[in-house]
């Protein structure tokens, strides 16, 4: 199978005026970046078929999406897992699944990127064990484990252990890879998710660079890597960056990244070889700005965002993956992914982009913009360092609060029209898109029943393995963890003994404990003051007076999905208009939400679900409330919910469904208040009837 697209000239180029020439002075083109499509779903078998299909289409690397149970360290048969199996990626329970996932794919020739974080060490161990069992030389493996736990606490939510223990695992992977898999990127510092969570370019630069420094500082402090090899570790540090619609600024951001990293590696870590100071990064362009309304416009947005990370040769990405145009509607279908891939191919092979040296060197405008971004970022880095570094800034909630503030500010700008969002806050009327009127409605659906495959495979693994050997491997892992030893080898041994994902993570949970970071929403102001806000406040004031208490809203994120921006913005806005809001962050079980709703005696429960598991989770919440006899709380649900599911949710008793099309915060707040007002009218009873209050409904 073809793994790397060869072009006519692949050797190093240099600039000759406006041309790129090779060593002999012959003109040529740059080799393109690696084309990837972030994919994986349903089951190891289905994902394997998809990968083979994509490789035939000219894709040059694999980018593996894992399902949420795998990312959060649960087996498919765990209670939290059931609704999520295979939804946002492939479920991997054991080494047996890995054999299926890479069936017929030559891993020794693949560049494999795994979007995996808290369980990175486990997935790398499985990959290594796969190579060992196939007889492939481990040192030949190439690829990346995302493994940036900091942004999980801040934005993505698939953390398990407390920050210090998580960073130790990352550092251990660098130590292991140094000799064992020299071409593996043990981690990939992500600013991507920070932008999705609302980060400004300055915050993106600062938080990502501070994270990279935290990892390198730790590797150095652990003292396991000889000083002579430390430059190699620095050189393996890679990044995963976002590219938004303001593509000129994004291009400048990438130049700022490149320059700042060069400076940091040289001065903080003393790396002399310029190659090892290169800012190596992959990209997924922005999803935050993709819209549910007029989704075809997203294709243009994606194309423009691609320019930000490809135009400047000195700051060009090494690998690129594009979201699909319909991402705000559902997971992409194979055709959607192919369409995204074609954009990359057109840009790389049809246009003349790759024929020129850097287009922006010497531009005073670009230089000035880059300098401004660098200054913002440096100020922020200094602040974090003053606090004691990234771990301290996570534990204190500082970084999370900063992001929530940026996000609420962005939302306010959209509400007030300061930011134009085509098809949303301007030109919302449009001819209906023929792209979403096909047989499948333009949507991808995980086939029901595929979860059974994962469950059956897991059961088979457990049945057929040597149970005692598996238990011994787990004990060895635990004692190594207690002793603070490097856990890679014990983890590989676990993989080969058919220990499962949940068992591996469970063993380390026992040792390291679990972590729940700050929600970041305390004390967040929303700079939105207008007549509608005032009206809402007085309506809530009237409800408060009539009912003897301020309306109470529980905002909850049930399930494993960690994308909390929506829930955070709703929580902040609801308080802004006068609700008492109870918000406890992500990854709640439906029963925990039910329990909170009862004890807190809330009037409204707002559940936010983006993973596609809304039907299962809504059903569990509604059943829990009903069983307990809690009838006074109305439940609303927000998330990526296909139109046809609305009626099903209503039948379950959900009072209202909000989708990304309901971006107008005050509309949402008004609808919540209307629900309460309607309930309050129904509560009104003849005067002489016996109370207590709040009992009806």
């Amino acid at each position: 199978m073809k793994t790397e697209t060869s072009t006519k000239a692949t050797s190093a180029k240099k600039a000759d005026g406006h041309r790129l020439v090779d060593e002999d002075g012959a003109p040529g083109r740059d080799r393109p970046w690696i084309f990837r499509t972030y994919s994986g779903h349903t089951s190891a078998r289905a994902s394997n078929e998809l990968y083979r299909q994509n490789l035939l289409q000219g894709q040059t690397g694999l980018s593996i999406a894992f399902d949420l149970p795998t990312q959060c360290g649960y087996d498919s048969d765990h209670a939290m897992s059931r609704p999520e199996i295979g939804k946002v990626g492939v479920p991997i329970n054991s080494l047996d699944d890995m054999h299926v996932l890479f069936d017929g794919i030559p891993i020794e020739r693949m560049n494999t990127s795994m979007t995996i974080n808290a369980t990175s060490m486990w997935l790398l161990s499985l990959y290594v064990a796969l190579a060992q069992e196939r007889g492939v030389e481990v040192a030949a493996l190439r690829g990346t484990t995302q493994n940036d736990i900091i942004k999980e606490y801040l934005a993505r939510g698939t953390y398990i252990f407390p920050p210090p223990a998580s960073l130790e695992l990352t550092a251990q992977m660098y130590e292991y890879c140094l000799d064992a898999i020299p071409k593996w990127n043990a981690s990939n510092v992500c600013s991507y998710h920070l932008q999705e969570a609302g980060a400004t370019p300055g915050q993106e630069l600062a938080f990502a660079l501070a994270t990279a420094m935290a990892v390198l500082d730790l590797v150095r402090a652990r003292g396991q890597v000889p000083e002579s090899a430390f430059a190699h570790v620095v050189g393996r540090m890679s990044f995963f960056v976002n590219s938004g619609i303001r593509f000129v600024e994004e291009m400048c951001k990438m130049r700022a990244f490149t320059e700042m990293w060069d400076h940091i590696t040289q001065h903080r870590y003393g790396v002399t070889d310029p190659k090892r100071r290169a800012f190596r990064y992959g990209v997924q362009v922005n999803s935050l700005g993709l819209t549910e309304s007029q989704p075809e416009n997203n294709a243009w947005r994606i194309a423009l965002e691609t320019l930000g990370v490809t135009l400047s040769r000195n700051a060009r990405c090494r690998a690129l993956q594009l979201p699909a145009w319909n991402e705000a509607l559902s997971l992409p279908r194979p055709w959607d992914q192919q369409w995204a891939l074609r954009l990359q191919q057109i840009l790389a092979y049809e246009t003349d982009l790759l024929e020129y040296p850097d287009l922006f060197d010497g531009s005073p405008v670009v230089a000035s913009k880059v300098a401004a971004l660098k200054e913002q970022a440096q100020t922020e880095i200094d602040r974090i360092e003053e606090m004691g570094g990234v771990v301290a800034a996570i534990e204190s909630g500082y970084m999370k609060s900063a992001l929530v503030r940026s996000m609420t500010e962005r939302v306010r700008k959209i509400q007030e029209g300061e930011l134009t969002w085509v098809g949303v806050n301007r030109w919302p009327e449009a001819i209906e898109s023929p792209l979403v009127s096909g047989n499948d409605g333009g949507l991808f659906r995980v086939e029901e029943g595929h979860a059974q495959q994962a469950l059956a495979a897991l059961e088979q693994t457990r049945r057929e393995r040597d149970t005692e050997a598996a238990e011994r491997a787990i004990e060895t892992l635990k004692s190594a963890a207690k002793a603070g030893r490097n856990l890679m080898e014990p983890s590989i041994a676990c993989a080969r003994a058919r220990v499962t994902t949940g068992e591996w993570a469970g063993a380390l949970r026992d040792i390291f404990g679990e972590y729940r970071p700050a929600t970041g929403i305390d004390g967040q102001p929303l700079a939105l003051e207008n007549d509608r806000v005032e009206t809402l406040r007085s309506r809530i004031g009237a409800l408060t007076a009539a009912r003897g208490r301020r309306p109470r809203l529980l905002v909850g994120k049930p399930g494993l999905d960690g994308h909390s921006n929506g829930a955070e913005v709703i929580a902040v806005s609801a308080r802004h208009v006068g609700f008492d809001v109870i918000y406890s962050g992500i990854r709640l079980t439906p029963s925990a939400i039910v329990r909170s709703a009862i004890d807190e005696d809330v009037d409204l429960v707002g559940a936010s679900v983006l993973s596609g598991s809304h039907l299962e989770l809504a059903e569990q919440i509604m059943t829990g409330l009903r069983k307990a006899g809690m009838n006074s709380a109305q439940v609303v649900l927000g998330g990526i919910v296909p139109a046809e599911d609305h009626a099903k949710l209503e039948a379950l008793g959900i009072a209202k469904v909000f989708t990304p099309a309901d971006y107008e915060l005050l509309d949402t707040m008004e609808q919540l208040v209307e629900l309460l007002e309607a309930r309050s009218r129904n509560e009104a009873r003849p005067q002489n009837q016996k109370r207590p209050q709040n009992q009806r409904g």
Partner: protein, 312 residues
């Protein structure tokens, strides 16, 4: 459902009824006072108040009050399944919208299927003093439903002295000292606690030194009341260190009925000041003062009676 049924069910441990009853005790409508009086009468007839101890937990933001509380509650429940525990957590309200973000981090660390623990957050609703206007009233009812009530105060300032009037034992949580915490030791809040816990206290030299400084300071504390000496402890919610000792200390806290009637007076006066300002206080004084009025009429009747005095 009648009030009678509601109280009976709550006393029998039904979670929804329990929660609704607590809501009744924070209902701000004047007429809710009738129901509260009636509810307490029903509860009184059905059973004596538990020997319910009130423990306050105060301290600056970020010192780890919530994680310490959840570790303690988990431990206390494990030790004695029959001991029913309520946790009230008070959070600040927005001065602009009146709304509040109510933290629920204690709850999240508790076993979710344990109905022997009740968790309620309350908005401070612009009240100064670290509690919500309804905290005392709610605690009245909680006496009948639980054996132990833990109250976590807002934790934002040094004016949080109300907890001293409510709690049988006040725990001040601090962390190994840096900068501002030294100031905290000098400030008024140090006059409140019976127990000072240094949380996040791993056995590093810096923490040891910090703890010694705390012990020295605690010895010198002037006690405003006749309460016994301040004790100092160190704990780590993360490692579990010191949790057993603290749990034992809390389990040994005894309720003090004298304190509760003092609290009635204090919070009644505070409510008068909140509703009617210094004018209200003058009227109250003319009637012989809060203590006398409550003594003559009882807690609920005093409130209704007083409201009538003002209106006329």
């Amino acid at each position: 459902m009648s009030l009678q049924q509601l109280v009976e069910r709550a006393l029998a441990g039904d979670p929804v009824s329990r929660a609704k009853l607590v809501s009744l005790f924070s209902d701000t409508r004047p007429e809710a006072t009738f129901d509260r009086m009636e509810a307490e009468e029903i509860a009184q007839k059905a059973q004596k108040p538990h020997e319910c101890a009130f423990v306050g937990c105060t301290g600056a933001p970020g010192v780890g009050k919530s994680s310490l509380l959840s570790a303690l509650v988990t431990r206390l429940r494990k030790q004695n399944q029959a001991r029913l525990i309520a946790v009230l957590a008070i959070d600040p309200s927005s001065p602009f919208s009146g709304g509040a973000l109510l933290g629920d981090r204690v709850r999240m660390a508790l076993p979710e299927d344990d109905s022997g623990v009740f968790f309620r957050s309350q908005a401070a609703d612009r009240e100064l003093g670290g509690l919500s206007p309804a905290t005392f009233q709610v605690c009245r009812m909680l006496r009948y439903l639980f054996d132990l009530v833990l109250v976590e105060t807002v934790g934002v300032g040094q004016s949080e002295t109300d907890i001293r009037h409510l709690a049988d034992c006040v725990v001040l949580v601090v962390q190994p000292m840096v900068g501002d915490d030294v100031q905290l030791l000098k400030a008024g809040i140090m006059e409140i606690p019976d127990v000072i816990v240094m949380n996040k206290s791993d056995l590093t030299p810096a923490a040891n030194q910090s703890f010694r400084a705390l012990q020295t300071a605690a010895v010198r504390l002037l006690r405003p009341t006749d309460r016994s000496k301040v004790t100092t402890h160190r704990a780590s919610a993360r490692t579990g260190e010191g949790i057993d000792d603290l749990a034992a200390l809390i389990a040994d806290t005894r309720s003090n009925t004298d304190r509760f009637s003092e609290a009635e007076t204090y919070f009644f006066e505070k409510a008068v000041r909140r509703e009617f300002g210094t004018y209200g206080l003058d009227v109250l004084e003319a009637q012989g003062g809060a203590e006398r009025v409550i003594e003559q009429r009882g807690f609920y009747e005093a409130q209704r009676w007083f409201a009538r005095q003002i209106v006329v």
